[in-house]
Symmetry: C2
Subunit: 180 residues, 2 copies
């Protein structure tokens, strides 16, 4: 099954979370998600930065901002998508749980990642509350590890359509080529 993965970023705080939310969007794109949805007030720069990366580095990646996470979730329930909440309080990620998620037969997967405080109801609404270890770290690393395990590392070798630039991996130094 070809999964369609959307990231829902909750609790962005103006100013404070600008760079974290930008990195989160870039991780979503680079690790094989199709879309990120931010909720609330988000700086224009965040969207511009990510859209600029997509424009130059290729692929299709969507960004949107919604007023309420409740709307996003109820739409998700309507289209019978799966909801995964990444939280340090959840059950630990494992091969077994990834297998189980894939076997649900649900094409649309919503991955919720919060900033500091996530509303209680998210823990109830989610089909899975999954921890990337039970130690504090970062929503950026949590999302990266989840997607890396989900796609079995293959997301890193994806080709990006319509790229204008591309890196040629080097043992030393940098090599970037332009694709016209």
């Amino acid at each position: 099954m070809k999964f369609k993965i959307t990231i829902l970023r909750l609790g962005h705080r103006l100013g404070r979370d600008k760079r974290i939310s930008t990195h989160l969007g870039l991780v979503a794109r680079a690790f094989g998600a199709n879309e990120i949805i931010y909720v609330g007030d988000v700086e224009k720069d965040v969207l511009e930065k990510i859209n600029d990366v997509t424009k130059r580095w290729g692929g299709s990646f969507s960004i949107s901002i919604e007023k309420s996470y409740k709307d996003v979730i109820s739409k998700w329930k309507e289209k019978r998508g799966l909801i995964i909440h990444l939280t340090m309080y959840g059950i630990n990620i494992s091969r077994k749980i990834i297998k189980e998620i894939k076997e649900q037969g649900k094409k649309h997967i919503l991955i919720i990642v919060g900033a500091k405080k996530v509303p209680r109801e998210i823990y109830e609404i989610a089909d899975y509350n999954i921890a990337i270890g039970n130690q504090p770290h970062s929503e950026i690393s949590a999302l990266a590890i989840f997607l890396d395990r989900f796609f079995n590392g293959k997301e890193l070798n994806r080709a990006y359509k319509n790229a204008k630039i591309k890196i040629i991996p080097q043992a030393r130094g940098k090599k970037v080529i332009k694709i016209s």
Copy 2:
């Protein structure tokens, strides 16, 4: 071999990188590194936040600030440690390369992660320039994926000595216990 892993964070920019550098330190700790070294001017908050996490969540994790990365690297060369630079321009991470790194027989591994611009000489000094995919994302996700692959996922199940609090993983909700 029991590896001792130190992260060297280059190019921290005051204000702008405060939260990114904090997350980077937390990722280093949660994914099995022993130490992080920041270079240059770094906000006190960054260190306090990470030390506070170590105090409450346990384990031993060291943080220090050095004036010059050159000193850190020359000390590393003296003690014959291995130097790995994580960069999107490098050769891609693979099982083969992780195996090769482990087989060098070097206990002390320095992992360099930069912010925007990394000096050219780092690419020369490093024993390995390794890319976590050749797309732009985040130094936080790059470090997490590298350590996750290096420790084969086992870092997430480590026990932390002298922890004051601990999470009991839950399918729904939060459960944190105090350890006296």
